[in-house]
């Protein structure tokens, strides 16, 4: 087993991986940018190395600086988390060339799945069903011609894409060219690659994905499905396992295709094969394979009873999976909600600001994967995901009830976030009946407003009491710029160092 691992990421996923290292007795190295000098992940690691300024391309996307940090600390392996360099084959290769182990799939598997067009072809020829569409030379004129053949609505999608970036739904031919241009720009910024593919758009489609786990000894297993149909801006906000939609027979078929897909590219380590399922005909189609850990991996961990991050590390260290497919099973039901700094009443646009107070929910069956604590700030530089709240219960209604109770207990003061919105989605009869699709949030909650616009009298009375006691005004209580939670009068003079975002 490795003695020391470098975690090439930030936020909740870096914290998650650092905890796994700690439990396995492996020393950990965090890397951080200027903006993250005091971030949770830099504090939880055994060592923390500064790698650059706030913009990701100067820090978390800098292969050179990350490898330098690994060399400097004597790390033996690198965990990329998700996002950033996690699906960058060049990074996987550079890690290997530096004599380190990349905790993820072989660079060839990343490459094979990274180009959405090539992956579509490969899957087609491997017998995995794909959505009707087009991949190939992608000059605008060709795309316009191919689009006409496929018909509308259709999806314009970055060949190098992921996470819903560089993707547009096009409802009619007139919108096509601007959509292609916009998707190309977004893809260029996000991935440095503006190649596009086209896919038929399936209305009311469900997003169902299969977690796979493959070791270096030829064992390829699946850890069942996750349903992630509750999305906004093509990004998931609520995920669950098992899916309330599929039955045992469909699960078996989709899992079979997922294993076929993983084997086709010589996959190793943890990965996810995403499918869309047409609810009318119950046909499913390969969407893409995410060659990394997913944000929503906790729901699988709770239902399958396995620690995916620890298995990623063990597989990278050459260990053999000690269980067979038949020994794995789903138990109970898990739901994950993503707490984002964003405004659901303003097109879900990201928000920034200080986390003046963040209190995580507690109680049996509730798990919180957070990357922030009170006193931190969400900045313009990185993803606005603050924390994931995950609830497990014996059945789906129990898990929904537990999640609602957990969200009601969550406190998040200082910026706009989607906590109230998530509660409304969970309380919706369609959601409770499991009747959702990938545009359901837009269709149903497009004009959502916080339902409790009226302040309840106890909150107003509390506010009045705070004012009465002279405690409601920051300027009245502390010199400006001071940490409002510092127990000390002279706290304002206390924060030193280069920190501060």
């Amino acid at each position: 087993m490795f003695k020391k691992i470098l975690v090439a990421n930030r936020g909740e996923i870096a914290v998650r991986i650092l905890r796994a290292c700690r439990e396995m007795g492996i020393a950990s190295v965090a890397v951080y940018s200027e903006a993250d000098r005091r971030a949770l992940h830099t504090r939880l690691a055994d060592e923390a190395v500064f790698i650059g300024t706030a913009p990701a391309d100067q820090s978390y996307l800098s292969i050179e600086r990350i490898l330098q940090a690994a060399r400097q600390t004597g790390a033996e392996a690198v965990h990329p988390g998700y996002g950033f360099l996690s699906e960058n084959a060049g990074f996987a290769r550079a890690v290997k060339q530096a004599g380190l182990v990349f905790i993820g799939p072989p660079a060839e598997a990343i490459e094979a799945m990274g180009d959405k067009g090539a992956a579509r072809q490969r899957m087609q020829s491997s017998g995995v069903p794909v959505v009707p569409g087009y991949q190939g030379p992608d000059d605008d004129a060709t795309l316009v011609r191919k689009a006409a053949q496929i018909g509308f609505p259709l999806l314009v999608k970055a060949a190098a894409g992921g996470g819903g970036k560089g993707m547009r739904v096009v409802n009619e031919a007139g919108e096509l060219e601007e959509a292609i241009a916009g998707a190309r720009r977004e893809a260029h910024h996000a991935f440095g690659d503006q190649r596009m593919i086209l896919e038929r758009y399936i209305p009311r489609a469900r997003h169902i994905e299969m977690q796979v786990l493959a070791d270096a000894h030829g064992n390829v297993l699946h850890l069942f499905e996750r349903e992630c149909s509750v999305q906004r801006r093509h990004q998931k906000i609520i995920e669950e396992s098992p899916s309330p939609f599929i039955d045992e027979e469909l699960r078996r078929r989709i899992a079979g295709s997922a294993l076929l897909a993983a084997r086709a590219v010589g996959y190793q380590n943890a990965g996810t094969v995403e499918f869309i399922v047409d609810p009318e005909c119950r046909e499913y189609y390969f969407l893409e394979m995410n060659t990394r850990l997913q944000v929503e991996h906790p729901v699988t961990e709770l239902v399958a009873g396995l620690d995916l991050v620890q298995w990623q590390i063990r597989i990278a260290a050459g260990e053999r999976l000690p269980f067979t497919q038949a020994e794995l099973s789903q138990r109970g039901h898990a739901i994950e909600c993503r707490l984002y700094a964003e405004d659901p009443a303003n097109n879900f646009l990201p928000a920034t600001g200080p986390l003046l107070r963040f209190v995580e929910p507690q109680g049996p069956g509730v798990r919180v994967d957070a990357g922030y604590t009170s006193g931190d700030a969400v900045t313009i530089h990185y993803d606005p995901l603050i924390a994931k709240v995950i609830a497990w219960s014996g059945d789906r209604p129990g898990a929904i009830a537990k999640m609602l109770a957990a969200l009601r207990e969550t406190v998040l003061l200082g910026l706009t976030h989607n906590g109230q919105f998530l509660q409304d989605v969970l309380g919706d009869p369609d959601f409770q009946a499991g009747q959702v699709w990938t545009t359901w949030v837009e269709d149903k909650f497009g004009d959502w407003q916080p339902p409790q616009c009226e302040l309840p009298p106890e909150v107003l009375a509390a506010g009045a009491l705070l004012r009465l006691q002279g405690q409601a005004d920051a300027s009245n209580a502390e010199p400006s710029g001071a940490d409002p939670y510092s127990p000390w009068r002279n706290a304002s003079s206390f924060r030193v160092g280069k920190g501060g975002v």
């Binding site: 998040l412 009375a461 004012r467 409002p484």
Partner: protein
């Protein structure tokens, strides 16, 4: 004590009167019993008409954030709250930034004639691109930001006039 608060354009009247160890609170004309059980580290525990309530709070400038039962509120002193949506600036129609972001591309110049829905500029934040469109047909009267500039939510980016 009598106080007035504003939240989302609505103004509330609250009065508090000490009664022994508790308070009588009158909120918009309705009376309640308020007993303070504990206060520490930004958490107020009260009994409100006999029922326990935990209220978290954090001051933020002259505003006050409050959280109870999974709902988050922001209370302001009346008249202090800027109200950006009714922005008529300099006679033209103001175009606001929908989020904190960086200006990626300015696609028009001052004096340009635009149609309603034309893209004026592109913003980016957290790797997301936002297209800012013209709210009306007219002329770009003023352009207040430039490429690469960081902007706050609700900051005025441009003005469209006749």
């Amino acid at each position: 004590m009598r106080d007035r608060f504003q939240s989302r354009d609505r103004i509330y009247e609250v009065s508090l009167e000490r009664q022994g160890e508790a308070y009588r609170a009158v909120v918009d004309g309705q009376a309640f019993d308020l007993e303070l059980i504990d206060s520490q580290a930004g958490v107020l525990t009260v009994r409100f008409n006999g029922r326990p309530a935990i209220i978290y709070y954090a001051p933020d400038g002259s505003s006050l954030w409050l959280s109870q039962g999974g709902c988050t509120y922001r209370m302001d002193k009346p008249s202090q709250r800027r109200n950006p949506s009714t922005g008529e600036a300099g006679g033209g129609q103001a175009v606001h930034s929908p989020m904190p972001a960086q200006v990626r591309a300015v696609q028009v110049g001052e004096g340009d004639v635009v149609e309603k829905g034309d893209t004026l500029l592109l913003l980016e934040a957290m790797k997301m691109e936002i297209r800012v469109k013209s709210p009306a047909a007219g002329r770009v009267k003023r352009l207040l930001v430039s490429n690469g500039q960081a902007v706050e939510r609700d900051q005025i980016l441009a003005e469209i006039g006749d």
